[in-house]
C-alpha cells in the first residue's frame, strides 16, 4: 500500500473491444480507466482515482472473453485485443447482490451530503441497483467510536464497509499512517494507533479520510452541525485563504450561511488535498466579532460606529491634511498579503496616483 503508481509511458496506442466498440488505450491503463474514459459508469465503492487500485469491493467486475470468471476492472491491466463487457445481466445481478450484502451490515444508508465529498456513493449505488431489499438482514459490522470527542471527524463505524479508502488516503496521499485496521473478516475495524483518540495519533486532521469515505462512516462533524439548517447545499469554487499553496476549495453554503468546505479534486495546486486549516478553519468569516460598520475616533478618545460617508470623508481629509502640512512623502500605504489582488492594486495606485510617491509596502517583511 505504500507504493505509488508509476508514470506511464504514453507512446504505444493499443486497441481493445469495450461493449462491442473498438476503443484505443495506452499501455499501463487498467480496464476500469479505459471504461471510465468511455463513460461506462462501472460502479465502485473502494475506488478513489488518486489511490492505488485495491480490488476489494468487487463491484467493478467485468467479463473478459476467454477468462472464466469476471475480473475486477480496477486492478486488471487492459491488453491489446482484449474483448470486455462491462454490463451484462449476470454482472448486474452480481453487483446487486453485493450491494444487498453491504447494505445489510450498515445501520444507515441515507447520509447527509454534508458528511463529505464521497459520502453519497453507497446511497446512489443502492438506489441505482434497487438493492434495499432486506434479503440479508442480520448482524451489523463495525463499532462506532463515540468516545473520540474531537470536533472535526465523526467516526461512525457502524456505517463502515471496510473499503480501506481512509486508511489508504492517509498512507498514500498524506504519508501520515494515522489510521489502521484491526481484526479480520466480519470483525474488521478501522482504528487509530492503539485504539486511541485521533488527537493522540499521527492524525493531522486534514480531513482526507472524511472526504474519501463512500458511506458517511467518517463524516465532517463541523459541517454536520448544519444538517438541520434549512436550505439546499450550494457549492462555490474558491481558493483557500491561508498559506501560499493556493488549494482549490468548494465553499458549502445553506442560504447565507457558510457551513463547510470541500477540497476540489480538480484543483491544480492541491488535486483534492487540504490541511486542517483549509478544511475546518472557515467559520471566522461569520464570527460575531466581525466589523459591520465603520468606526471613527471621537473626542472622547473612543472608537464609535458611524456612517460610511462620514468615515470616508474623514479618512480622505486626514490624508489631504497630512499632505498639505507635511508634504506628499508623509503618507504611507501598507497592503495586505491576505486580501486579493484588487486590494493590493488599488492600494499601490492610491499611493502612486494619490501622492506621486512609492511609499508603499506589504506585510511580507514581517
Amino acid at each position: 500500500m505504500t507504493g505509488l503508481r508509476e508514470q506511464r509511458p504514453a507512446d504505444r496506442v493499443l486497441e481493445m473491444t469495450l461493449d462491442g466498440e473498438p476503443v484505443k488505450f495506452t499501455e499501463g491503463e487498467t480496464i476500469y480507466e479505459v471504461a471510465e474514459r468511455h463513460r461506462k459508469d462501472v460502479p465502485t465503492l473502494c475506488y478513489d482515482p488518486r489511490l492505488e487500485a485495491f480490488g476489494a469491493c468487487r463491484l467493478c467486475v467485468v467479463e473478459v472473453e476467454g477468462v472464466r470468471n469476471p475480473v475486477a476492472s480496477c486492478t486488471t491491466p487492459a491488453t491489446d485485443g482484449m474483448i470486455v463487457k462491462t454490463r451484462t445481466a449476470i454482472l448486474e445481478k452480481h453487483r446487486k447482490t453485493l450491494l444487498e450484502l453491504v447494505v445489510s451490515e450498515n445501520r444507515n444508508v441515507e447520509v447527509d451530503e454534508l458528511s463529505g465529498y464521497a459520502s453519497q456513493e453507497l446511497t446512489e449505488l443502492v438506489d441505482r441497483y434497487e438493492a434495499r431489499t432486506g434479503r440479508f438482514a442480520g448482524k451489523q459490522s463495525g463499532t462506532t467510536n463515540d468516545a473520540d470527542r474531537n470536533p472535526f471527524i465523526l467516526r461512525d463505524y457502524d456505517n463502515c464497509i471496510s473499503c480501506y479508502r481512509c486508511v489508504r488516503v492517509c498512507a498514500e496521499q498524506e504519508g501520515d499512517y494515522a489510521i489502521s485496521v484491526m481484526n479480520r473478516g466480519f470483525a474488521t475495524q478501522i482504528t487509530a494507533e492503539f485504539g486511541r483518540d485521533l488527537r493522540d495519533s499521527q492524525c493531522t486532521f486534514c480531513g482526507q479520510c472524511v472526504q474519501t469515505c463512500p458511506t458517511g462512516a467518517l463524516g465532517d462533524k463541523k459541517a454536520l452541525r448544519d444538517a438541520e439548517t434549512p436550505g439546499e447545499v450550494r457549492k462555490t469554487r474558491s481558493i483557500c485563504p491561508y498559506c501560499g499553496v493556493g488549494c482549490s476549495v468548494d465553499l458549502l453554503t445553506k442560504g447565507e450561511k457558510l457551513v463547510g468546505v470541500l477540497p476540489a479534486m480538480d484543483g491544480p495546486a492541491n488535486e483534492g488535498a487540504l490541511c486542517v486549516k483549509g478544511q475546518y478553519a472557515f467559520d471566522f468569516v461569520q464570527n460575531a466579532d466581525r466589523l459591520g460598520k465603520p468606526l471613527i475616533r471621537r473626542d472622547d478618545g473612543e472608537l464609535h460606529e458611524c456612517e460610511w460617508d462620514e468615515a470616508l470623508d474623514f479618512a480622505a481629509n486626514g490624508f489631504k491634511e497630512a499632505i498639505a502640512k507635511h508634504g506628499r512623502r508623509s503618507v504611507y500605504g501598507v497592503a495586505s498579503g491576505r486580501a486579493p489582488h484588487e486590494a493590493a492594486y488599488t492600494m499601490q495606485k492610491f499611493i502612486r496616483a494619490g501622492c506621486g510617491t512609492n511609499y508603499i509596502d506589504n506585510c511580507s517583511r514581517a
Binding site: P151, F152, G175, R199, T204, F205, R237, I239, P241, Y242, V245, G246, E256, G267, A269, V276, K277, G278, Y280, A281, F282, F284, V285, Q286, N287, D289, R290, L291, G292, K293, P294, I296, A311, L312, G318, A322, I323, Y332, G333, V334, S336, R338, H341, E342, A343, Y345, T346, Q348, K349, A353, G354, T357, Y359, I360, D361, N362, C363, S364, R365, A366
Partner: protein, 528 residues
C-alpha cells in the same frame, strides 16, 4: 517557486532548509512525501527536529543563523569532489570561476564549528545534493528572516547554478510563500521598488509609463520600506504622519512590538481596513469593515505563480465592503481620478493592462486557474517552470558571499537562542483560526519548546511558567519539554496574544530587504 508544485513529486534529491513544510505548507509537503515514497532522498537542515527531519536521509540540526556557513561548505565539497556541472556553468552562468575559487577556503570542518553539526554530515549532504539528478531546493522564512536573508538565498542560488539544477523538472529553487496572496501583493506592485509586474520604479521608461497611466507625475526613486516608515512615524524631518493599513495586524506580527505600537500612536492619521477590530485597528482614527474571504470576488497568486479566482459565496456582515472599494472611495474623495471601479473585474483587468507578466490574462481567462505567470501575451500557455531556456537577465550570476554572525549572539546575559515560527493548527495572530470552532481542541495555548536536557539543567518541568527576556523586553510562557528543540535553543510561535513573542524580537534587519531577523533572538529564561 521556480518550478510548479507538481514538480515536487519528481526530485531525485530534496534539499529542505528553513522550511517546516508539514506544518506551514502541509499540502505541498504531501507531494514531497510522495516523492520520498517513490525513492527520492532528502536532506533537511533545520535547528528543530521537525517532522521532515524524521523523514530525511541526512538531517543537519544547524545552529540558528548559520545557514551561509553550511551552504559555503556544501559548495566547497561539490567543487572539490568534481560534482560541478561545467556544461551548465559555461552555457548559462557568469562569475563561476571567481565563485569556485572563493569556496575553496570554506571546508566542512570550518563550517562544522559554526553550524554545530559534524563535518562528515555536511560532506554527505553536499555529495547527495551534488549527485542528485535532479536536486530541488525548498525553503521558507527560516532562510529569509535573518540579517543575512539575501545572502542565504543567493547561497542557495549558487548551489543550484553550480550543479545546473535550474530549468529542469523536479529541480529548481523553490521558496514556499506563507500567505495566500503575499506573492500577489508583490505582483500588484505593493512594494516600494517595483510597479505592478515587478517593473522597477527607478527605470525612467516605467516611471513615464505609470505617470501617464495614472495621470500624475510619480517619483522615479524607490520608496521606503515599511520598516523604515515605522521608524520615521511622527518624525519632524522626513516623517510619516498618515498611514493606510489594509488587513495587517502590524503591532502583533512585526518585530519589536513596543516600538511598533509607539510608531503607530505617533501618527496624526491612521486608517485601518480589516475584518476584525485587531490590536492594530484599535489604534486607528478610522476603521473600515472589509468583506472577508467567501464574501468577495477577487484574484490571488499562489506560491507557484498560479493566478486564481476567489468567489463570493455569502453576503458580508452589516455594511462591510470590499477593500478595493473602500480604498477607491477614499482616493476619489481626495480628488484623485482613476478610481471609478464598479467591480473587482475592472480592477484586475486594469492591472493586466499594465503588467507585462499578466499581459496575456484577464478576469475571464483565469476562471479555472490554469495560468502561471509570466503570460506575456494572449494565447500564451503560461510558464509553469522558470529559467528553462535562459534567465530573465541572460546569464545566471554567481554571488560571492561570506558568513556573518546574527545581529545578536548568545552571551552571559542572554545565553539561549530563541527561534520563532508557526504551528499547523494556528495561523499568524489567530484572528481567524482563533475564531474557528474546534481549533482550540487541537491547540489550546502557546508553549515554549525546551530540550529535555536543558529543562533538567534549568530545573523546569512540563507546564512550568518561565519568564523569557531579550534585550527588548520579556514575556511569560509555559514550558513544553520536547526533543523537537535542540539543546540551547527554544522555540515558540507568534500566534497567541497572551504570549506576544515579538516583544522580544527585532535584533536586526537584512540590509537589502529590511526583513527582520525573527528567527534568531538571544534570550534569558528564568523559572517563575
Amino acid at each position: 517557486m521556480s518550478n510548479p508544485l507538481r514538480d515536487m513529486e519528481h526530485p531525485d534529491v530534496i534539499f529542505a532548509i528553513g522550511t517546516n513544510m508539514t506544518e506551514c505548507h502541509p499540502v505541498a509537503a504531501t507531494r514531497l512525501k510522495k516523492a520520498l515514497a517513490r525513492g527520492a532522498r532528502m536532506i533537511v537542515a533545520d535547528p528543530r527536529k521537525i517532522r521532515l527531519a524524521s523523514l530525511a536521509d541526512v538531517y543537519l540540526p544547524i545552529r540558528v543563523g548559520s545557514d551561509v556557513a553550511l551552504l559555503l561548505a556544501m559548495a566547497h565539497v561539490i567543487e572539490r569532489d568534481g560534482l560541478v556541472n561545467w556544461e551548465f556553468i559555461e552555457a548559462r552562468t557568469a562569475g563561476g570561476d571567481d565563485f569556485l575559487t572563493h569556496v575553496k577556503q570554506f571546508t566542512p570542518e570550518w563550517a562544522a564549528g559554526i553550524c554545530e553539526v559534524p563535518a562528515a554530515d555536511i560532506e554527505r549532504a553536499a555529495r547527495l545534493y551534488g549527485e542528485g539528478a535532479p536536486s530541488a531546493i525548498y525553503y521558507t522564512l527560516g532562510i529569509t528572516e535573518h540579517i543575512c536573508g539575501v545572502d542565504n538565498v543567493k547561497s542557495l542560488c549558487n548551489l543550484a547554478l553550480m550543479t545546473g539544477n535550474l530549468g529542469v523538472e523536479g529541480g529548481g529553487i523553490n521558496p514556499m510563500r506563507g500567505q495566500n496572496n503575499i506573492q500577489g501583493a508583490g505582483d500588484c506592485g505593493a512594494i516600494p521598488n517595483n510597479y505592478p509586474g515587478f517593473q522597477p520604479v527607478d527605470d525612467p521608461g516605467n516611471c513615464a509609463k505609470f505617470s501617464t497611466a495614472y495621470g500624475r507625475e510619480i517619483d522615479c526613486e524607490r520608496g521606503i520600506t515599511k520598516v523604515t516608515a515605522l521608524d520615521r512615524c511622527g518624525m519632524d524631518e522626513d516623517g510619516i504622519h498618515a498611514m493606510l493599513i489594509d488587513g495587517e495586524n502590524t503591532v502583533v506580527t512585526d518585530p519589536d512590538k513596543n516600538h511598533c505600537e509607539h510608531a503607530l500612536k505617533s501618527l496624526d492619521h491612521l486608517v485601518v481596513i480589516d475584518i476584525f477590530l485587531t490590536d492594530t485597528a484599535e489604534l486607528a482614527d478610522v476603521v473600515f469593515p472589509a468583506t472577508a474571504w467567501g464574501e468577495t470576488d477577487g484574484v490571488q497568486t499562489n506560491t507557484e505563480r498560479r493566478v486564481q479566482r476567489l468567489r463570493q459565496a455569502v453576503r458580508p456582515p452589516g455594511e462591510a465592503r470590499p477593500d478595493w472599494w473602500i480604498i477607491s472611495q477614499i482616493a476619489t474623495r481626495m480628488g484623485v481620478p482613476g478610481f471609478e471601479f464598479a467591480e473587482a473585474k475592472e480592477v484586475f483587468n486594469e492591472l493586466c493592462g499594465l503588467s507585462p507578466i499578466y499581459a496575456g490574462l484577464d478576469w475571464d481567462r483565469i476562471a479555472d486557474g490554469e495560468y502561471q505567470w509570466p503570460v506575456p501575451e494572449a494565447g500564451h500557455p503560461g510558464t509553469p517552470r522558470l529559467h528553462e531556456k535562459e534567465f530573465t537577465n541572460g546569464r545566471g550570476l554567481f554571488s560571492i558571499i561570506g558568513y556573518r554572525d546574527p545581529a545578536e549572539v548568545i552571551s552571559e546575559e542572554f545565553p539561549v537562542w530563541l527561534t520563532t515560527g508557526r504551528r499547523l493548527q494556528s495561523y499568524h495572530t489567530r484572528t481567524q483560526t482563533g475564531r474557528s470552532a474546534g481549533i482550540e481542541y487541537l491547540l489550546p495555548n502557546e508553549t515554549l519548546e525546551v530540550n529535555p536536557d536543558d529543562a533538567a539543567a534549568w530545573g523546569l518541568e512540563n507546564g512550568a511558567m518561565v519568564r523569557m527576556s531579550s534585550a527588548r523586553g520579556s514575556i511569560e510562557i509555559p514550558v513544553k519539554v520536547t526533543g523537537m528543540s535542540p539543546k540551547g535553543t527554544v522555540f515558540t510561535s507568534f500566534s497567541f496574544a497572551n504570549v506576544p513573542v515579538n516583544v522580544l524580537t527585532g535584533s536586526g534587519y537584512d540590509p537589502v530587504t529590511q526583513t527582520a531577523e525573527l528567527k534568531v533572538c538571544p534570550v534569558r529564561i528564568e523559572a517563575l
